[in-house]
Symmetry: C3
Amino acid sequence: MIFSSPIFSAAELIGTVAFAVSGAMVAIQKRMDLFGVLFLGVITACGGGMLRDLMIGRIPPNALVHPLNLGVAALVGLIVFVLARMMKERYLNSTETVNHIFNIFDAVGLGVFTVTGAQAAIDAGYAGNGLLVLSMGVITAIGGGLIRDIIIVEVPFVLTKHIYAVASILGGLAFYGLYLLGLVPVYTVLAGTVLTFIVRVLATIFKWDLPRAIE
Amino acid sequence: MIFSSPIFSAAELIGTVAFAVSGAMVAIQKRMDLFGVLFLGVITACGGGMLRDLMIGRIPPNALVHPLNLGVAALVGLIVFVLARMMKERYLNSTETVNHIFNIFDAVGLGVFTVTGAQAAIDAGYAGNGLLVLSMGVITAIGGGLIRDIIIVEVPFVLTKHIYAVASILGGLAFYGLYLLGLVPVYTVLAGTVLTFIVRVLATIFKWDLPRAIE
Amino acid sequence: MIFSSPIFSAAELIGTVAFAVSGAMVAIQKRMDLFGVLFLGVITACGGGMLRDLMIGRIPPNALVHPLNLGVAALVGLIVFVLARMMKERYLNSTETVNHIFNIFDAVGLGVFTVTGAQAAIDAGYAGNGLLVLSMGVITAIGGGLIRDIIIVEVPFVLTKHIYAVASILGGLAFYGLYLLGLVPVYTVLAGTVLTFIVRVLATIFKWDLPRAIE
């Protein structure tokens, strides 16, 4: 068992599917070929967790030891590829719908990976180190998107748009706070995931942005 | 000894030379200075293996413990630099020849690093984990080029051109399959390297590409 | 204790402040929002040390275990943000002064991180491996800037401008040479830091560059 509770393994799987969709959609938009779509789906889904695992000493990274998540991410990438290929022009002409779908999946991934990342640090024995718990949540949640955007040579979405990482920090704080209060996983996971998701979605809808030093 | 058989150490040295050439050539094309040429040669040659070593827990990474490969990569970078400086205009006017040379060296590096990467995972005790063996082959083979292209701010060649990574996956499968069948290194190494090399070269010549969802 | 002598902890803190300033200034120039400024400040200040820690097996990376440096980097980023916001037009119209400040802080960070990086390798038990000691110095010193520039999608400053990394290599050699001769930290730290700083500053003033193969 990787996680102390199966709830987290289930959550990690949900996040894997969600981020694989977002990664594959970006690759299709960039006109990458089938391998590029699968690779970007897999690295978006598994990259954050791999960075986290390197940092907490879970070596080799879980994604390379247990093939389930990586296989699911590749399969999801393939499905997105086939759907986009079938839709062709309709896919290209539905920019708004495509953006909505991207944002929903991406927000789901952000929410669940925030709590699984934080939990991975707790399970690795660092429950007493709040900085590490929170930063592993954020790194797991934004790491995959960061690597994805670096690969497609764009300034990372996760650092520039609509308080993306702030949503993950808030969700991580909620998760960790409730954990310290002794709540069972089902509540801490729900609270952390839902808070991250809601903040991320509201920020996108209302275009919330943090202030800039110089506009 | 890093590898269980000297054949792999020899192969890693060949791959180091080949990728140092490819990295140095890219740096020269980007008009980097001498340090940039040496750095890009070294990181292209050693970067994939360093990523791999971090993931299989061989810490510090081999390239920083045994100076041979890193020294050879720097020396090769220097030789490429001096040759290009001597040729000047002739270098610039021979785009096609330069591309051919780049592709040959790059294909050699891809082939040998696919098998040394896979073998490193086997030697680290993960022979029974096919996903890890294959992914260490691919990461070693394409990691250096990935880091090289991220540094020069281009969408990675290895993810977009002519089934580059697919060649490495096929070669890795051949290597690992023959290994499981009990063949001795000399055959597994040759099979994996040559298959990767041939697929990569044929794909470049015939411009094989995987399908795209939307052209 | 992380370092064998408090001098190195003090130096790491100075370098953290210096690189947090340089990272935050780059983020402001790129019109990032408050989170982006804090993130780029923190990653520039702590990224090189985190890369180093992963490579010498100090896991989790020190920056995530001891909150001091990360907290200081975030605070420094906030101060730079507030100052720039107060100055507005004056900040934008003082390009030359802004560049001077950036270069001074960046040179300080480069100098102290060269020696703390080398010392971290020594404290981890690799004093006898000159390649590892020197490369940990260089990676700590240029790693943060490298990650910073990759994130903002620019060809890394540290690889292209005014013998930046060469300054770190020279300072590292001075530090390690004096260490091998048995000098106490206060002298080795000063020598390594000051030499790196001076070479970096002189190279910027006099626009020293290494030769290029093709201009």
